[in-house]
Point group: C2
């Protein structure tokens, strides 16, 4: 039965080829000091950085920089960002980059005016912000995490070998996000494919949970069909604007809380993938790809009807004369073929994980309660070994 | 190609069996004077009115009433509502009822502080509000129009035989909406079925437009499959909470601007249906049902591929060995069977329209530009005659 929920998503999206012009509508709403946050410099190579600086200047902003946000933003970097934001007396944090940069910007935004250690407060004790929050805006250059329209913020603590996400409430959502599919044209192929699987996994991890008849599941089936089609088109031609548009748009809506409302969700694949990343620093989407099929094949017997539905409605499996289990397995086989053809990493050993690391990765894996099977430590170990 | 767009929907939804409790979170945000707007008294019979009054009292509000909003709210009633809101010095307009009541509340909200004639300003000249807007909240008791999470507001002018909708911007969207599927249990069957087709038509009129590969179309196919399934379940058992939940939720998301973003839309069925209603005062959803198939069969030859997609992905038509046209027609035949089984009105003559009225209805029908065929006056006449 559809559960009770509240829904509010106040983020304003500017989407399309001229989306950057939205900054001219948004910037006047905030004070003069802008902390410009970005990553390793790809935004300088593709020209987005220069365009953003120009618009900031035209709007009379005083710009402070915080560069070098890594793919898995660390507690050390977060500390640095908080210091920079404080020194700048930032009125707005403008994230220019992919999901990591947006995640990081949100982590800084709730920590600038907070005296406590943000890692302890938000990522260990999962407390809510009790201080002033600096508004965040995003200029997205990679489709994937959905961070541009939600409260998610994942931070990695290398000392503790933990990569943990806090899902903040709507007061931490970006106030606005600029989504120009053309900005994703220059994302290297490995990152693009990785982002594609991250998005796919976001949908699947919300889909594979619950036994009720829920509109969300039908909507996700539609999203998945569109997404698989567009992913193939983008892999064929990365400059296919229509395909990149559909991918970018689906990424945002897959994780802006919409499809999760009224239903349970799982997220165990993310827990497994994040644990792998904490030990290998591997690219997020690839860690998810490498653990997904061993996980899904492990939980399939606990929900064969749902996996059959997936096979039939997403992968066009003809169920005639097949048991639920058989149809379901055929769906996962179709998914496996698609993943391999797309060039996804199918084994965590290819990401640097070794047999010796398994015990550590098991320890780093959080166990979620919303999936079709709540995993034991032995099951986690078995899935990870299967993924090696 | 996915077009440029901006998206922002700030309405907060409280959904589920305990949704009315959301009023306790929302009411303190507004001043003391509340204009309570409702329709013909069904909210008194089903107890929702008493519950709302109780919560208003507990929150220390001074309540002013504006009852008797009709299914097609008129310019005369709008004038009365504006006077009542002015006399009450309303800080909040709380609409308790179906889409008509929400539509009407929005019309009042943009007219209270406006000196001009609202019909002329908003419904003839389609101007935007240039005055203070009184905030609106909704307690929904019927699923259908989506008015609870958008800026739409349809008003009827009997003297001019016109029923026209203005789609206001996000500043006119309800600040919050309370959606309890149980509140729709007592909607009479005729109204429930009518609402179901209104929702169906909202999705179809956005779906049947454009030739690009657009994620929205795939999402709408998913919504439609879920919706048809839930509509059948609700027709079978109106107290099926899961089905009524899915219907209520789909109604909201079908018309809260989400699926329309990045694509063209049509709305000619609504133009035809509203013209019929202006001459007969018939129930909204039934006017749409009665003109839909003649319209879709008329435009099918201009987009056989899209109608085939609809037949295959929504109605499970097997396209093997069939031309696009044949598969498409089979889809519309399946839809026709479903409509008849549901008990929808299939002819405008059953709604009071006569041969003699046709010329007048043709004159009242606005011609939209986004469909697969922009209709001529002769085509409108032919479709209406076919619908008789």
């Amino acid at each position: 039965m559809l559960g009770d929920f509240t829904y509010c998503n106040p983020t304003k999206l500017y989407f399309g080829k001229d989306a950057l012009g939205g900054l001219n509508e948004e910037l006047p709403k905030y004070g003069r000091n802008v902390l410009l946050v970005y990553g390793g410099g790809s935004v300088k190579k593709n020209g987005v950085y220069d365009k953003v600086r120009e618009i900031l200047k035209a709007n009379g902003k005083r710009v402070f920089e915080d560069a070098g946000v890594m793919p898995n933003p660390t507690t050390e970097k977060l500390k640095e960002g908080v210091e920079r934001a404080r020194a700048a007396k930032a009125d707005l944090i403008l994230a220019v980059g992919g999901g990591s940069v947006c995640d990081y910007a949100k982590a800084v935004s709730v920590s600038v005016h907070c005296e406590e250690d943000p890692w302890e407060k938000y990522y260990i004790r999962f407390e809510e912000p009790s201080c002033e929050i600096v508004p965040v805006g995003c200029v997205l250059t990679m489709a994937g995490t959905g961070s541009e329209m939600n409260g998610g913020s994942v931070i990695t603590n290398h000392a503790q070998k933990l990569k943990i996400g806090h899902v903040f409430g709507e007061e931490v959502f970006p106030k606005f996000s600029v989504l120009n599919p053309e900005f994703t044209f220059t994302v290297p192929r490995y990152q693009m494919i990785s982002g594609i699987y991250d998005i796919m996994s976001h949908i699947l991890e919300q889909y594979f949970s619950g036994t009720d008849d829920n509109t969300s599941d039908y909507i996700m089936e539609g999203m998945l069909r569109s997404f698989i089609h567009s992913a193939d088109a983008a892999a064929e031609n990365p400059l296919d604007y229509e395909a990149r548009s559909n991918i970018m748009r689906t990424a945002t809506w897959a994780l802006n809380t919409f499809v999760a409302k009224g239903k349970t969700t799982d997220w165990e694949v993310h827990m497994l993938g994040q644990a792998v990343a904490a030990h290998t620093d591997a690219t997020h989407g690839m860690t998810l790809a490498a653990v997904s099929l061993p996980y899904y094949r492990h939980i399939l017997p606990y929900a064969p009807e749902k996996f059959k539905k997936y096979a039939v409605n997403v992968w066009n499996v003809n169920p005639a004369g097949k048991s639920d289990q058989e149809a379901a397995e055929e769906g996962l086989a179709a998914m496996e073929n698609w993943m391999k053809k797309l060039g996804l990493v199918m084994r965590i050993s290819e990401l640097g994980a070794t047999e010796e690391m398994i015990d550590g990765i098991v320890k780093s894996t959080l166990v979620m309660q919303g999936g079709y099977k709540v995993l034991t430590e032995d099951e986690i170990r078995a899935i990870l070994k299967e993924s090696l």
